[in-house]
């Protein structure tokens, strides 16, 4: 065995195996005790040695000959930093026609006044969006219930289309709706401008209705989904679920509901501590239960795939993309530097720009920490302003205590908004952070599946990435 130098890597232990993880997120599964042998230069077998060299864990030269390749791959992993903000969320109104028990957006009654965006605000917001250098722009309409404001949707899209005649960006339009009010007018707009529908389906009727606070909610959502599919095409309708306390008891039933309704995937999404959801009395218990819920549901989804039904879990897919491909993901919650501002901006009905969806939810509770400026302000003053510069000092998990030396850091992200809202400061304290606990548990679980059930799960995981 030649003399070698170590390259940066970290490791986790999982049931009798060690998993080495380097700065690129490449993994190598080895036997327990291997790390100690590698570090102390004790004898290791030839095959392991070759794998360690080939996968950038050790080097036979002080400066590895492929260092430039390594650096290029690292740059690619952080590619979203050069791309500019791609996701632009337009919160059209707080008006809503449902009464969700965990509403994170602090929605108001359907007939409420003065809680919708004006056309002037929309025009300013669209102009700001085009100041982002991103070649791909996603213009996402949220609420409240944005389908209650069809004129505003149409106005915003037409404004964007007009500007795009010269800008030539690739624009994706998304309408986040509960599907209760998918009128012909709304659907015509969607058809004309190729708008995708993102709706909420929490599971079978008894879960969905309980979560959404109306007895007919499930039936309305399903008929809305079918109506949208018939009018726009099946591929234009996606659904998201939110895991309420009640949902935690029914992981398999919720997955079955998605399969039954013809979806080929779902996002097992935890509740976030904003809006009404922040009033949950025991977040620690919820977090523990959610982790178990997630594992049960993921295993069930793997089983479905083994039995011939292609069905993807989206959160796992994001993590797998980080583990198994050289590319970055656009998922805001698992980015470092953080997804806020870098990957998403919020144009709110109140006339202000916010750092993330959660930031505007905090504003409804009177906390304007992440309000970045007015919709009428200059883009540069918002994006390069004092507030953003202050947030930027703590938005990379590479420099945060408790994160910088975490073995799964490369797959995880930083979330100053969550730290601020749950712990009272943007920097955060990892030992008590539920964001940290949940992400670490799920990432480590997915790694353990690869380490212990490789032959069984890898063909399925790879199929999710295609």
């Amino acid at each position: 065995m030649k003399k070698y130098a170590l390259l940066p890597f970290n490791f986790i232990e999982t049931d009798g195996k060690e998993v080495l993880i380097n700065e690129l997120g490449d993994m190598l599964v080895v036997g327990v005790g291997s790390v100690e042998k590698i570090v102390k230069r004790l004898p290791i077998d030839d095959d392991l040695y070759k794998s360690l060299v080939a996968n950038f864990f050790i080097t036979e030269n002080p400066l590895p000959p492929l260092l430039d390749v390594y650096a290029s791959r690292l740059k690619l992993k952080k590619g979203f930093m050069d791309d500019g903000t791609a996701l632009h969320i337009f919160v059209l109104t707080l008006r809503c026609n449902q009464n969700c028990t965990y509403c994170q957006a602090t929605s108001r009654d359907e007939n409420a006044q003065r809680c919708s965006m004006t056309k002037e605000m929309m025009a300013n917001a669209v102009n700001l969006m085009f100041h982002s250098p991103s070649k791909h722009l996603t213009m996402e309409f949220q609420g409240g219930e944005p389908s209650l404001e069809p004129d505003l949707i149409k106005y915003g899209i037409e404004k964007a289309e007009a500007i795009n005649l010269t800008e030539k960006r690739k624009i994706t339009y998304v309408l986040c709706t509960n599907c209760r009010n998918l009128t012909s007018e709304v659907l015509e707009i969607c058809k004309k401008y190729n708008v995708q529908i993102s709706t909420s389906l929490d599971g079978p009727d008894f879960i969905h209705n309980a979560n959404r606070g109306k007895a007919d909610s499930y039936q309305k959502t399903i008929s809305g989904i079918n109506k949208a599919r018939n009018f726009l095409g099946k591929e234009k309708v996606a659904a998201l679920m939110t895991t309420s306390e009640l949902s935690l008891n029914y992981p398999k039933e919720i997955v079955d509901e998605y399969v039954k309704n013809g979806f080929d995937g779902m996002f097992l999404r935890a509740l976030n501590p904003y809006g009404l959801a922040s009033e949950n009395d025991d977040w620690r218990r919820y977090n523990e239960r959610f982790i178990n819920f997630y594992k049960t549901a993921l295993n069930y989804i793997i089983e479905l795939n083994q039995n011939g039904t292609f069905f993807r879990e989206e959160y796992a897919t994001i993590i797998l993309r980080k583990i198994l491909t050289p590319y970055t993901t656009g998922f805001v919650d698992l980015q470092s530097p953080a997804g806020i501002i870098n990957s998403v901006l919020i144009y709110n009905y109140d006339g202000y720009v916010y750092a993330s969806d959660e930031s505007r939810m905090l504003a409804e509770k009177g906390d304007y920490t992440f309000r970045l400026g007015k919709l009428s302000d200059k883009y540069e003053d918002i994006i390069y302003g004092e507030k953003v510069r202050r947030i930027a000092k703590i938005w990379s998990n590479e420099v945060l205590a408790g994160c910088s030396n975490c073995p799964v850091r490369v797959y995880c992200g930083a979330d100053p908004v969550r730290n601020h809202s749950t712990q009272g400061d943007m920097y955060g304290f990892r030992p008590s952070s539920l964001f940290c606990k949940k992400n670490k548990a799920i990432i480590e679980y997915i790694i353990s599946l690869i380490a212990h059930r490789e032959n069984e799960v890898m063909p399925i995981f790879k199929s999710w990435l295609r």
Binding site: A5, L6, L7, P8, F9, N10, F11, E23, V35, E36, V39, T59, L63, P64, L67, D68, Y70, A71, S72, L74, K75, K78, A401, G402, N405, F429, R430, P431, S432
Partner: protein, 95 residues
């Protein structure tokens, strides 16, 4: 309960890291005495605490060796990947 740690074996970084993670559940007071550090646990952790403390300390030591040994190559790697120093003013570079 007081635990004595030999600072010639375990670096300040390692001890600090372990104290950081355990400080959520325990109140810990650190006192340096020559080559040794005394860690006083004001809430009663018992033998379970001692075992957990040294498990974490030894785990951290291994990670710390890798981190220390690869510090320079990591700096070079990040500089190659993201270095764009021409664009920075002297003031920004030292900020």
């Amino acid at each position: 309960m007081t635990i004595t740690v030999d600072r010639r074996i375990y670096s300040d970084k390692c001890i600090s890291d372990v104290v950081y993670w355990l400080s959520y559940c325990y109140t810990l007071e650190r006192t340096i005495d020559g080559d040794f550090e005394k860690i006083t646990v004001t809430s009663d952790g018992g033998e379970k605490f001692r075992t957990e403390f040294f498990r974490r300390l030894n785990d951290c030591k291994l990670r710390s060796i890798i981190e220390t040994e690869t510090k320079d190559i990591r700096t070079i790697l990040y500089a190659k990947a993201f270095g764009d120093f021409d664009c920075l003013t002297a003031e920004e570079a030292t900020e």
